[in-house]
């Protein structure tokens, strides 16, 4: 007889832990897994107020890439993208890593020139980048309209061959299973309501399941970071903005690459299942509401139809939205919080999914050693006071 074993059993939190991680998303679970496996921390709890993967981890568009701009962040994103390759074997769980390549379209000469400069920055960091002509794009994506008919004709594109997709739920369960195997207590349905701080040092958290003492506390709550800030009586340099995503009905395979237009704020890819994922624009206002709107759906669809006219008969079947806590400089906040024993991994905006493996690695290293690792030293909260904001771009 076939028996089904649950993939994971949630636990009730105990009264004391060495490290408590707030947030049972990809970043929290990755940090927990790395702490347990590589830094030999014995007693770790991941506290999640709803269920693991409720937030951005299960709501993103599964894109992994490293074609960013700032020299401070490029080595980090590059390492993260490379880490996805070995992760399925390491976590013993197939993450469906598919590095299919990413095409970013340019709609004017000026944009193409800016893209060439961007490409040079990326090549200097060791990232593979090619420029494509409209003819080459047409050969790779035959369904794309590269003619002069479109509202903003395509002048060329940047090709990022190592970019691609990873199944986000697979990644989440892979990390959760691996963390549980290495002895991490994953406690869902436990909401943190406050912190116990004595003499500038965090000694534990107050939760809906009672007080829990901890040597160190790590905040990895994704878009909900400002709620933690209010418990601490501080402010974070973020604004929470939702991003909406849609999927279409399932079709036969026709689109081999991830295609994006940074100018018109759309991107699309065909998943392994066959549906298209459409997205690319943050909502025009700050909100903690994850409803979706007809306006956003119709605008994305209109832009994408302009370049994929053959999709005119295809229906959008589902849409959802996730919260992004965005900083002004499009770079995250990682490292010390100003309170001893409390570390931050927040402000990941809409680029948190692709950074998960490196984030887990360096967050764990920081928690275990207390020293800020070289690769995340530019992500500190103090950069907003020292005029050292990261020169990152919004794509």
């Amino acid at each position: 007889m076939l028996t089904t074993q649950p993939v994971l059993r949630y636990k009730q939190p105990e009264r004391h832990y060495d490290v408590i991680i707030i947030g049972g998303g990809l970043h929290g679970l990755a940090a927990a897994y790395n702490l347990a496996r590589y830094h030999h921390v014995k007693r770790i709890a991941v506290l999640e107020r709803r269920y693991i993967g409720f937030g951005g981890s299960g709501r993103n568009t599964e894109m992994v890439r490293s074609n960013k701009r700032a020299h401070e962040t490029l080595p980090f994103y590059k390492e993260s993208l490379e880490m996805w390759d070995g992760l399925s074997a390491e976590l013993e769980w197939n993450l469906l890593v598919q590095k299919k390549g990413l095409i970013a379209l340019a709609h004017s000469d000026g944009e193409l020139a800016a893209m060439r400069m961007l490409s040079d920055s990326q090549r200097r960091a060791g990232i593979k980048i090619d420029m494509l002509s409209p003819g080459e794009i047409k050969k790779m994506v035959p369904s794309l309209d590269v003619s002069d008919r479109t509202a903003l004709p395509i002048f060329g594109a940047q090709f990022h061959p190592e970019g691609g997709t990873v199944h986000h739920d697979a990644a989440l369960w892979g990390y959760a299973k691996a963390a549980a195997r290495w002895g991490v207590d994953i406690c869902a349905g436990v909401e943190v309501t406050g912190f116990n701080i004595e003499g500038g040092k965090v000694t534990g958290v107050r939760t809906t399941a009672g007080n829990i003492a901890a040597g160190k506390v790590h905040v990895a709550v994704g878009g909900y970071s400002s709620e933690i800030a209010r418990m601490l009586g501080v402010k974070f340099p973020v604004v929470t903005i939702p991003m909406q995503v849609m999927t279409t009905e399932v079709m036969a395979p026709f689109l081999d690459y991830y295609v994006a237009s940074p100018r018109l704020h759309w991107y699309t890819q065909q998943t392994l299942k066959g549906d298209l994922i459409l997205g690319g624009q943050l909502d025009p206002w700050q909100s903690w509401n994850s409803n979706t709107t007809w306006q956003e759906c119709s605008e994305r669809v209109a832009f994408i139809l302009e370049y994929f006219p053959d999709l005119a008969h295809v229906r959008v079947v589902r849409s959802w939205s996730g919260l992004c806590d965005c900083t002004g400089d499009s770079a995250p906040v990682m490292g010390p919080s100003g309170i001893e024993g409390l570390s931050l991994d927040i402000a990941w905006g809409y680029y948190g999914f692709k950074s998960t493996p490196a984030c887990g690695k360096y967050a764990a290293e920081y928690i275990a050693t207390g020293k800020v690792p070289e690769k995340i030293k530019h992500f500190g909260l103090d950069r907003f006071y020292n005029r050292q904001r990261v020169r990152e771009i919004i794509i």
């Binding site: 909900y224 400002s226 709620e227 800030a229 209010r230 402010k235 974070f236 340099p237 973020v238 604004v239 929470t240 025009p284 206002w285 700050q286 909100s287 903690w288 509401n289 409803n291 709107t293 007809w294 306006q295 806590d325 900083t327 002004g328 907003f384 006071y385």
Partner: protein, 79 residues
């Protein structure tokens, strides 16, 4: 449409006619130190609940409004 905004000049209008201007903040005094100005510029309360915020009616009367909105439910409340 997620909600409607009461414009005193134009009536109840779609938020897509407006430009969102962020939460209302009190700027520091001109003689305040750099830290106070950095706090003002970059750090936000980012309220999950009722907050007072700026909206610019770009496709209407082109005036700036202060609106009290619940950022979780999108409910607009009178003062």
């Amino acid at each position: 449409m997620p909600f409607l905004i009461d414009c005193p000049n134009c009536g109840r209008r779609s938020p897509y006619e407006f430009k969102f201007g962020g939460e209302c903040k009190q700027p520091p005094k001109p003689e305040a130190d750099v830290k106070a100005w950095c706090d003002y510029l970059y750090f936000n309360e980012n309220m999950s609940g009722v907050q007072e915020e700026w909206w610019y009616h770009a496709m209407g009367c082109r005036s700036w409004l202060k609106v009290r909105r619940n950022t979780v439910t999108h409910e607009i409340s009178k003062e």
